[in-house]
């Protein structure tokens, strides 16, 4: 469990760093480019996404921080992460790859969105559809298994 505690500490650090980087990007975009891209949907979407990347890692980091103090919570977290049934369900719903491809599609969509908005919408909706299907499959297997 001590090794896992160290892993959690590392994860906390990484998540906090990610939140800080995203917050820095928000500040830079807000004060540096907001006039240039005023009313641009892609720019607004990008800001929204960055805000989510500030909030979500922070929530997760707080959860990890709390678990570090409580041995039972840490054990539960460890069991939850290493649960074979959950791992199996995640594999069935194609989770790691689906998340990576969806992330890449959104990232590519944002970059291309400044040139062509149709591609941006297509990529973002495709990524969202992909994620929705993965969640539906996951829910189905959670009920089935």
């Amino acid at each position: 469990m001590e090794a896992y505690k160290l892993t959690i500490k590392k994860r906390c650090f990484i998540l906090m760093a990610l939140a800080l980087i995203c917050a820095a990007f928000i500040v830079v975009f807000r004060f540096g480019f907001s006039k240039l891209f005023a009313g641009n949907e892609v720019f607004n979407f990008q800001e929204g996404l960055l805000s989510a990347f500030v909030l979500l890692p922070l929530i997760k980091a707080i959860r990890y921080h709390k678990a570090q103090k409580d041995e039972t919570a840490l054990r539960k977290l460890y069991n939850d992460e290493n649960d074979e049934r959950k791992k199996f369900i995640r594999q069935k719903s194609g989770m790691p790859l689906m998340q990576i491809t969806s992330g890449l599609m959104i990232f590519a969509g944002i970059i291309i969105g400044y040139v062509n908005k149709t591609i941006f919408y297509t990529l973002v909706f495709a990524a969202m559809a992909q994620m929705t299907i993965a969640v539906i499959i996951k829910t189905f297997y959670m009920k089935k298994l």
């Binding site: 039972t72 069991n79 649960d83 049934r85």
Partner: protein, 119 residues
């Protein structure tokens, strides 16, 4: 002495009574068979349930909750529930952990009879 006409009458009555008794017996037997069949099926189902939920029985013996067992063997409560009701088949590692936790062999905790014919 009975006259042949009367004899015929009584024979017919007796035949009717026999038919009635036969039908009653048949009905009772059918009902009996049905009850026996129902009991056998119920027992078989009970046996099957017992085999599937041996973890539950062992857990009850130790007066443990699913959460406690899950914590002890390094899994989640949902997984224990799924294994108990036969929705999910535990891996060899988890089956070993559970069996070892109860101080029993894997075959004493899990029903492996379905694999007997495959060997």
């Amino acid at each position: 002495m009975l006259a042949p006409a009367h004899l015929g009458y009584y024979r017919a009555r007796l035949s009717c009574i026999f038919k009635f008794l036969q039908s009653q017996l048949d009905t009772k037997c059918k009902a009996g068979y049905t009850i026996i069949a129902k009991h056998t099926l119920h027992n078989l189902l009970e046996m099957r349930i017992d085999l599937q939920t041996r973890i539950k029985a062992l857990r009850k013996e130790k007066k443990m909750s699913q959460e406690e067992l899950a914590m002890a063997v390094g899994t989640t409560r949902q997984t224990i529930t799924s294994i108990e009701i036969g929705k999910y088949t535990a891996s060899l590692g988890l089956a070993y952990k559970i069996s070892r936790f109860f101080g029993k062999k894997i075959e004493d905790v899990f029903d492996l009879s379905e694999f007997d014919n495959d060997i």
